[in-house]
Every structure is written in C-alpha cells, then in structure tokens.
C-alpha cells in the first residue's frame, strides 16, 4: 500500500500537525488522525507482524475490527501496551512501536518462523516439542505469544471511575439509526442514554453521504445532537458497550484522552436498542493477508474522515452491491480504480472499470503488488480493497441469550429469537439500507410504550445483494481466515480431518475467533468452510457462545480503584492510635488490623507471653463478636442454635459453647452470656462475626417467629479491654474501675456491671489465656481514658501489653482451640472430645442429624490432640503431617495445626488433628514436613495447669 494524504478534505485539523515516532521513525500527521491514519498517510505499509508466523501485516480495518496493527504507546508519563492503532488518537510526542514485532515491524527477528509454517499448523504443540520434555519449550513458545509487553515498573494508573446509571432507553450506536431512535425516544419523554465507541457521533454518515429529512448528512447530524441535548439525553462518545449481563445490566467502558483512567458505566436501562451496525468481511484468496489488502468500508472511512487514499492503483474486489460507492469515491479522489465483482450481474458506477470475476491470489513480498483473477488476468496494483459482505454486530444481543438466525439471502447471522428488554435496528438487525432501517424504527421502539414522532425519511437505495463467497475446501495457497490468530483455511481442513468438527472444537483447536478481535472478521468464514468440509450448512455448524467483553477492557476499569488499601480493607480498632504510640507492630487478623506484638523485633513475643503468666497482661479484645439476641423466644432460639444446652444458663452467667453447621461441622465457638431471661450476648470469633450473624438471621427467619426473637450486632459499639494474670484484679481496681470483682459476686464465667467515671461497663470474667481474666467492655469512643488508666495501673504491677502472637501461645498452652486453625471443614464436636450434648441434649439443634451419620462415628476420624516434641529439634512446623509408613510409602494421619515454643514451659508445644488421637494418647508418631522427618508424642491438649487453678489465682 502506498497510502497518501489528499490535499483537501477529512476531519483532520491541518493547522495542528502531530509528530510521533513509530519503530524509531518520525511520522507526522494532524490533530484528528488516529495512529493508523497518520501511518497510512505517510506511506507506511508494514505496520505489524502476525501472531504466529510473523508475517508482515498492514492495516485491515478502521475501527475495533482491526486484527493486525497493535502499538505499545508511550506518551509523557503514560504507557499503553497493545492498543489498536485504529482506535487511538495520534498524540504529539508519543513513542510507538509495533507490539507484535521486535525490533521493528519491518525487520522482525522472528520473521523466519513463516518459512516453517507447514510444520507449525494449528495444534502443533500437541504433536511436536514433546521430546525430551515439553516444559523445555513451553516457556519460549509462550514468550512468543501475546500482544504487547507488560512494563512491570509502570504502576501509576489513576483509579478508574465507576458510575451506576438508570434510564428508560439505552441506545448503543450513534450512527444515523441510533441517533434517530434516541431523538424519537427522548423527545417523547424517555430518559435516554446514547453511547458510541467512536470519538464522534455519525457512524456510517461519516463516510457515506446521505440526505435525511431533506438535510445533508452533516446538517442532519448536528441538528440531531442539538435535539438530544435539548431533550436532556446523556450522550457518551468513546464509550463501548462491551457486555450484556444478567438482569438487564449493560456495561459501558468510556475512554478519556486526558490521562484519566477509563470510566466504567454500569447501566440498568428499562430497554436497550442496539444500533451497532455491521462489519465488512474479507474475501478468501491466496495471500489475502499481504500488507495493502484491507476492508473496502475501512478504506472509505480513511478517505472521507482522514483524507487518506490507500494507494494510487487500487483493485476493489467485492461480492456485493455496496462496494461500487467505494470505487467511485476513490476515483473522484484521483485514484486509478479497477472494480472486480464476483456477481455475474454486477454493474459499476459510471467511469469505473469493471471485471466480473474474483481474485484467486495476491502477489508481493513487503506488500501487495498485483492480483491474479479467476479468469487468469493479472492486475498490477498497490492496494486491494475487499468486501465479502456485511456481518451484523449482534454481540450484545447474543450475550443476552438471543439466538441468531441465518439469513441465506444476506449471507449473515441476523437476530432471531426475541430478548426481553432489547431490540435491534439498522444494520445490526440486518437492515442494510438506511431507508429500511428508519422505517423499522417505530416497531423497534414500540416496547417503550411512548407516543413517538415519525421516524426520519431518506431516499430509497437498492436492496442489498450479495453472492456469498466462502473459502473452499482444497483451495491452493495460504488463504487466511483469522488474521489476528494466523488461522488459515488449511487449519480448518486439518481440524476437520482430525474430527474437530463441532464449532466449539473448531474454535478451540484452531484458535479461530479467540484473539482480541473475537473473530469479528473471521468467524463466519471458518464456519462456512467447516460446513463445506462436513456437508453442513452454516446454521447447522452454528456459532460458539458470545461472551463479554466485545472489545478489550482495561483491568483498572473493572477494579475502579479497588486496589491497595481499598482492595481488602481491614476494620480498625478504636485504640489503634494508642497501640501505634506504644510501638505495636500491626498485622491483619481476621479482617482487623491488630497488634501482633509491641517492640522492634519478634523477640518481644516470648517476653510478652512469659510476663503475662508471671504478672499480668493487657490486650485489646475489641474485635470479639458481640451479637445481642433478645426477645420472648430468644432462649428457644439459642437452645436450637447451640450444640450445648443453654436453658439452664442463669442471668449474669456465661457458658463456653459451640455452634455447628447443618453438616455437623464446628462452625464457631465462644462464650454465651445471659444478661436477662430474654437478653443474651453471643460472643463469637472475631473473623466470624458476619458469618455468625448470617447464620443467626437465617434460622431466626426460617424456623422461628421473626417477631419474637431479634438480633443486633453491637460488636463495633464496644471496646473490650482484657486484663489477664495473677495481678489482674489489683490492676483493674488501681485503674479506678468501680466494680465488685470478688469471686462471690463475679466468679469465673460470669458477667457484671461496673463504672469508669460516668461510663457504664460490662465486665465479663472470661479467660482465653487460662489465667484469671476480666474482659471490660466500654463504649468504644470512650475507651482511650480507660486503656490509659489500665496501663498506668498495670505498670505498677509489671503488666505487659500483649499482642496476638503471644496470646495465641498462651491459649495453646491451655489447649484452647481456634476455630478454623485447630479445626477444619470436617471437624465434628466429637473429634474435639465433646460428646456430652450429643448424648444428653434432647432438643433439636443445628447439625444434630449429621452427627449420627455413619461417617461421624468412624473410629478413624482425625481428632484434636496435644503433641509433645520428642526429638529435641524445636517446634514442629505448622502443617507438618503425622505419618505412618505403609508398604514403604508414608500415609498421612493428619497434621499439626498450631505449634509454638512455650516460654512458660520452656519447651515446644503443638496441637493437631490426628487420626484416632483419643485412643492413641501417649503414642509417639512420626511427622513429615518438606522431606524432613520429626518425632512427637500424642498427649492431652492442655499442657499447663490442667486443673484450672490459675483461673482463680
């Protein structure tokens, strides 16, 4: 192709030149150019390399259908890899390079791949590169695939905006039909949104002249936009409706050219009208991928919008009656044109040379230089424009489960079944004349139920006529079908020979239609050829499933800023500032940011754990769930929810209980506190609050009278400050807390009231450390003075601030389990040694029926146990498997769930789930981790103070 810029015309601003580089070479265009049009105007022919064979490629299309030319674009601080040259506005100072070539499109280092084309057809990687090991070759093959290079240093992407929008009518496509529909609906009172992927409205009017309602197209276009604005319609350009989702959601990605990330619009219209047009198809002939061969419709767009002619001696090859207009436009621009029309009754515009034939082969090396026709003629040329017919763009319709129907007369799939809430109009509906499309608008808009004005009127045009031309079996030479994925007719024939004849197998075996263009210019030809090979029609071969996105969408558009601190936000403690000030190392635990330890290195952990036992510890337990259950049926409700029986629990007392799932698996544990006959606090694991609340709500609504039992999550209202250790009582009193903490009034597992200044307190005597312990709950926003007072008082008694790491050691010394760490998705209460309720509780509870299944009684179940290290090699690795050797191979008996060095006991301790542990107490077994063998003895899980005397110390 030796494209050149016409002296006049186009939408470009010739007063504003734009200069950029392409593969190191300077290129000058104008404001309003795309990179594609600027490159074409400057005579560039080879602009890329094909995906597999690294063949030279030039432009095919003018929009999103472009399969060949991809650029990595660096402009200022911005970097955009793998962008279509046809949809990116040319930016002054940009540095672009062909994304599929190295070092350049002209001189690609891997161009020799094409010489070996016959050895690397579709599916070659299933048959070759197997010896000695596929993995030796896989990495290099994958490195050659893909489009564009990710720059790992480029992370500065502004967050994308996400906007939800509701309207009566979403019109997709701002061509003449979409514009007319939007105007009709908006002026009838509908809330209308109109979107188009191009940078300006007009669609086909930008390339095809027309007279509408007596006005020339540009005037009609301007007037339509003004009427839309006056009617309050929202019009978005550079906005691609890329996906049709459940419940009528349509996703639209809007580009911006000012450095902003894209905007993701999630539109929920009452009705969608797709006026998405149609895409020109290629023609099949040998070497139909040479640079200089492009879509006839695209060439017209370059001519009219950018004032760029594709060449000076152009062959226009077609199989339909729309392409004569392209030939005429080129001739008027001074180009020598020959029209080659495959239809026997073809005619040509006046002055255009016509040959009734078809191209069978294109010739050239760096680009097309001539073509050979079926009648033997050879025509020299520097560009070939082809049109194999129009393929309606029905993607959003098909994504919405619309079933396309085959229209043999138009040689295209058109909309078939109806889709609720969606209609199509114009070329998308198979109406290839503007007059016909306008006439059909009232019916397309009828579902709105509005009094609509008359549709526009334009002059009649000839009916669309086409002689379908598909690739034929056994055709000589290399006939390209899918330009982007380098799939040829021979690949389809290979698939048929190997019995991959279903459309789904055809697609996956050849990768036809799987590139980023999603087969926009290739799918139909592949289906037709497979049909010819297998004696089926095109509709009998069928189509694959249409899935979003219609065109590539940046990840950031989906993320909409949800990264960094917004990716998985944590909950924050009311006393976080105090913890930071005290030197806490903070980590995420169960969705909260909590102190791990206090100090500059983790040696602090063992110090905290030891000192907690010797004097006292203060820790922030605010994250523990505090779900209040109240009402006349609260007791009945909780008796059902808990594995343990709770009816005997008196007001002012607490009980350690378990909740099971319906499968009998231990779901959560915690202390249930009874404040009054009809008022309870369900204390649950910090990470399980939402799950527990959901479980409680589900059973409240499904099994109980929801007007007699109620659930309030008060977790975040209270800060819970825990004082633990032999000095705990003295510290609390010394802090100025007014409460009777005598053992008579507040025994272990009881709850009482207190005050700190004017703030009421709830004080629960509950222990997670095994030592005397008080959980003091205060209004979260008033916690700081109490914490300060406790710390002050604690300093007089050698109290230490306790982080999560030390806390987990203390509880492990007592054998207190952590749900989800010392239990897994199969752990039943009997695996923990808790068989009492199952044996004695007479009332129904969640999971009861699962506990009597045969699997629950299996003697070989994994059971909770303590593990004493016996090989003197330090703590066992967490996750190490208990193993027994059978027939020379190790068999897992279970695994270590918790493992620490205990500073109080001065030795390692561990907990685990081991097969038949309860019957194997005292037995020494082997443990294996990453190839290393260890030894440990199964013991009772409580390593310290088994009689519980420290609870009252």
């Amino acid at each position: 192709m030796t494209g050149f810029r016409l002296k006049t015309g186009g939408e470009i601003d010739r007063a504003r030149p734009v200069t950029f580089t392409f593969d190191g070479e300077s290129v000058t265009g104008f404001a309003g150019d795309t990179y594609a049009s600027a490159l074409m105007a400057s005579g560039h022919m080879v602009m890329g390399r094909s995906f597999k064979y690294r063949r030279r490629r030039g432009l095919w299309g003018a929009g999103v259908e472009e399969p060949n030319v991809w650029l990595d674009i660096t402009c200022g601080a911005g970097f955009a890899p793998g962008r279509r040259a046809t949809t990116e506005p040319a930016q002054h100072g940009a540095v672009t390079r062909a994304a599929t070539a190295s070092p350049s499109a002209e001189r690609d280092a891997t161009g020799a791949f094409d010489w070996f084309g016959r050895f690397i057809p579709s599916g070659f990687y299933y048959k070759t590169f197997m010896w000695p090991d596929w993995h030796l070759f896989e990495r290099h093959i994958r490195a050659q695939a893909g489009i564009g290079t990710v720059r790992r240093d480029f992370t500065d992407v502004p967050p994308a905006d996400r906007i939800h929008h509701h309207c009566d009518l979403l019109v997709v496509g701002a061509g003449p039909v979409g514009l007319a529909a939007a105007v009709m609906a908006a002026e009838a009172g509908a809330r209308v949104m109109l979107v188009d992927e191009q940078d300006r409205a007009g669609g086909s009017l930008l390339a095809h002249p027309a007279v509408i309602d007596g006005q020339a197209a540009p005037d009609w276009l301007a007037a339509a936009l003004a009427r839309l604005a006056a009617a309050g319609a929202r019009v978005l350009m550079r906005a691609t409706a890329f996906g049709s989702y459940d419940h009528g959601l349509v996703a639209v990605n809007q580009r911006h050219d000012d450095g902003r990330s894209d905007t993701m619009w999630q539109v929920r219209p009452h009705h969608v009208l797709l006026a998405t047009g149609a895409i020109d198809r290629p023609l099949p002939f040998a070497n139909n991928d040479l640079p200089g061969i492009m879509s006839a419709e695209a060439a017209l767009v370059y001519l009219r919008r950018y004032a760029v002619a594709p060449g000076r001696r152009v062959v226009v090859a077609t199989s339909n009656n729309r392409t004569g207009a392209v030939a005429q436009a080129l001739a008027e621009a001074g180009v020598a044109v020959t029209l080659v029309d495959a239809r026997a009754d073809a005619t040509a515009p006046a002055g255009i040379a016509l040959i009734r034939s078809r191209i069978i082969e294109a010739h050239g090396r760096r680009g097309v230089r001539s073509v050979t026709l079926a009648d033997g003629q050879r025509i020299d040329c520097d560009a070939v424009l082809v049109s194999g017919g129009l393929t309606p763009t029905i993607h959003l319709y098909a994504q919405a489960r619309g079933k396309p129907a085959w229209d043999a007369e138009k040689a295209a799939f058109v909309p078939g079944s109806t889709v609720a809430g969606m209609t199509l109009a114009g070329a998308a509906a198979g109406q290839f004349t503007l007059a016909g499309a306008f006439a059909a608008l009232p019916e397309a808009l009828a579902p709105l139920g509005l009094p609509l004005a008359a549709a526009p009127v334009t002059g009649a045009a000839p009916r669309y006529e086409i002689a379908a031309m598909w690739p034929e079996p056994g055709e000589k030479g290399r006939v390209w079908i899918d330009l982007q994925h380098d799939v040829t007719a021979k690949d389809v024939e290979l698939a048929a020979r190997e019995n991959f004849t279903s459309v789904e197998h055809l697609k996956r075996y050849t990768t036809l239609g799987m590139a980023t263009d999603q087969g926009k210019t290739s799918n139909l030809a592949g289906l037709a050829l497979m049909g010819a090979l297998t004696g089926r029609t095109v509709p009998q071969v069928g189509t694959t499933t249409y899935r979003p996105p219609y065109t590539p969408v940046p990840y950031e558009s989906f993320a909409a800023g949800r990264r960094g601190v917004r990716f998985n936000p944590v909950k924050r403690l009311a006393l976080e500032s105090a913890h930071r000030a005290a030197g806490a190392v903070l980590r995420e635990y169960g969705g909260w940011l909590r102190p791990a330890f206090y100090g500059t290195d983790d040696s602090a952990i063992l110090i905290e754990a030891k000192q907690a036992r010797e004097s006292a510890a203060l820790f922030d337990g605010s994250t523990l769930g505090k779900i209040e259950v109240m009402g006349p049926q609260a007791e009945d409700f909780l008796e059902f929810v808990y594995y343990n029986s709770i009816r005997s629990l008196k007001p002012g007392r607490g009980r350690y209980c378990f909740v099971l799932s319906e499968t009998g698996v231990v779901f959560d544990d915690g202390v249930l506190l009874r404040l009054a006959p009809d008022h309870f606090i369900v204390s649950c694991s910090s990470s399980h609050v939402d799950g527990m609340r959901g479980l409680l709500e589900e059973w409240r609504q499904d099994r109980f009278d929801p007007s007699r039992v109620f659930i309030h999550d008060a977790t975040q209202h209270w800060a819970t400050l825990t004082v633990s250790g032999p000095q705990a009582r003295a510290i609390i009193a010394g802090a100025g807390v007014e409460a009777d903490l005598s053992d008579d009034v507040l025994p272990h597992m009881a709850i009482g009231a207190g005050r700190f200044g004017d703030q009421p307190l709830r004080i629960a005597r509950v222990s997670f450390t095994g030592d005397r312990s008080y959980e003091i709950s205060i209004r979260a926003t008033q916690a700081a003075p109490l914490w300060a007072a406790l710390r002050q008082a604690g300093s007089d008694h050698g109290a230490v601030l306790l982080g999560m790491e030390a806390l987990t050691i203390l509880r492990a010394e007592k054998g207190y389990l952590i749900i989800g760490k010392d239990t897994d998705g199969t752990t039943l209460p009997q695996d923990l040694g808790l068989t009492g309720p199952l044996a004695k509780k007479s009332e129904e509870f969640i999971g009861r029926r699962s506990l009597i299944l045969p699997d629950a009684a299996d003697a070989n179940r994994r059971q909770f146990t303590g593990i004493e290290v016996t090989d003197g090699l330090g703590p066992l690795p967490c996750g190490a498997h208990g193993v027994e050797d059978r027939d020379g191979r190790p068999r897992s008996l279970g695994y270590v769930t918790s493992s620490y060095f205990s500073p109080t006991l001065d030795r390692p301790i561990a907990l685990g789930l081991i097969e038949r542990a309860q019957a194997r107490q005292g037995e020494e077994i082997a443990f294996q981790h990453l190839g290393q063998r260890r030894r440990g003895r199964l013991v009772a899980p409580c390593f310290l103070d088994p009689d519980g005397g420290r609870l009252h110390g």
Binding site: D161, R580, M630, I711
Partner: protein, 174 residues
C-alpha cells in the same frame, strides 16, 4: 533488622475526613446517639412520639428520628433508650459508638449516589440499609433538607469509607 511484617505503614493511621468539591461537601459528624430497635416498631415509635421510620434517601427531620432497616428492625437516631428487652414489645441495643455518621451535602448528591450504589435513587426502598462502594454495609437517609444526606457505617470501617470517599470525590471533581 529482621522483617517484622509490620503492616502499620501500609495502612495509614485513621484521621478525620472533610473534603469539599464544587457542588458537594463531605465530612465526618460528631458522635450521635443511636440504637437498634427490634420488635413492635409501631409501639416503640408511639411510646417515643417519633415520626414513622424513613427508608433509603427518606427525609428524616429533627434531632430524634427513626430509620427503617428491616421488617422488624429500625435505627433510632438522637436517643439511646435503655438496653434490653422492653415489656412494651421491643428490644434495644445502643450502637451510637458503633455507627459513625458522615454528612454528604450539596446539589451533586445524585452524582455521589451514582458512584456509591447501583440502586435507582428514584425508586424508593423501604429499607435504608444497603452496600456502599466497595461493599461496605451502610445506612443512608436525608436529614432536614433534600440535599443533606446522612451516611451511617460501622465505626471500624470508617477509614475504609474515607478511602473510597477520597477516590469518589476526586473523580467527581475532574
């Protein structure tokens, strides 16, 4: 020094939020008395001489008002009745320290709402509870004026809301 896996630097220390853009002003409000009430809501409202509970974007007025959350649950704002089960047929749990309140004020509240939730602002919802932004549980009403919104979120999730608000307002300001 060995890596302590300290995440304190990754998570910025929470701070109060206040940001103004043309057409919208967003800022944290001081703590408000609030309580969940469940049960015979009509009896509770009558006993407290409160107006009917408002739903999503409903206009609440005055210092004491009720917000409907569910079939048997509301949030009362401006008072914290005694906790526990009331013989009148309702249960109360104070949550004034547990729910932070943010004021969103200005004529561009619709643009804000369009970024906050897929809910149609013109379709009334009896429940004022919804998921906001990145999935934060929240409650939203108007207060005293149509352009004056009040957003309630769990206090522990307030910094996460602030992070989302910053990005939202920056996008709106462009």
């Amino acid at each position: 020094m060995a890596d302590t896996f300290d995440r304190a630097a990754f998570w910025p220390e929470p701070a109060a939020f206040a940001q103004d853009i043309p057409g919208l002003s967003v800022r944290d409000l001081p703590e408000l008395p609030q309580a969940y009430v469940s049960g015979d809501l009509a009896a509770f409202l009558a006993a407290g001489a409160l107006a009917p509970a408002v739903g999503l974007l409903g206009l609440a007025q005055g210092d004491r008002y009720a917000v409907r959350l569910a079939r048997h649950r509301l949030l009362v704002v401006g008072i914290e009745p005694d906790a526990g089960w009331n013989p009148g047929g309702w249960g109360v749990t104070p949550v004034g320290a547990g729910l932070a309140v943010v004021a969103v004020t200005g004529p561009r509240w619709r643009d804000f709402f369009a970024r906050a939730t897929p809910i149609d602002p013109d379709a009334a919802s009896a429940s004022a509870a919804f998921l906001l932004g990145d999935g934060l549980p929240a409650i939203l009403t108007r207060h005293d004026a149509p352009d004056n919104l009040r957003l309630h979120v769990g206090r522990a999730t307030l910094p996460a809301l602030h992070d989302w608000l910053g990005d939202c307002l920056n996008a709106m300001a462009r």
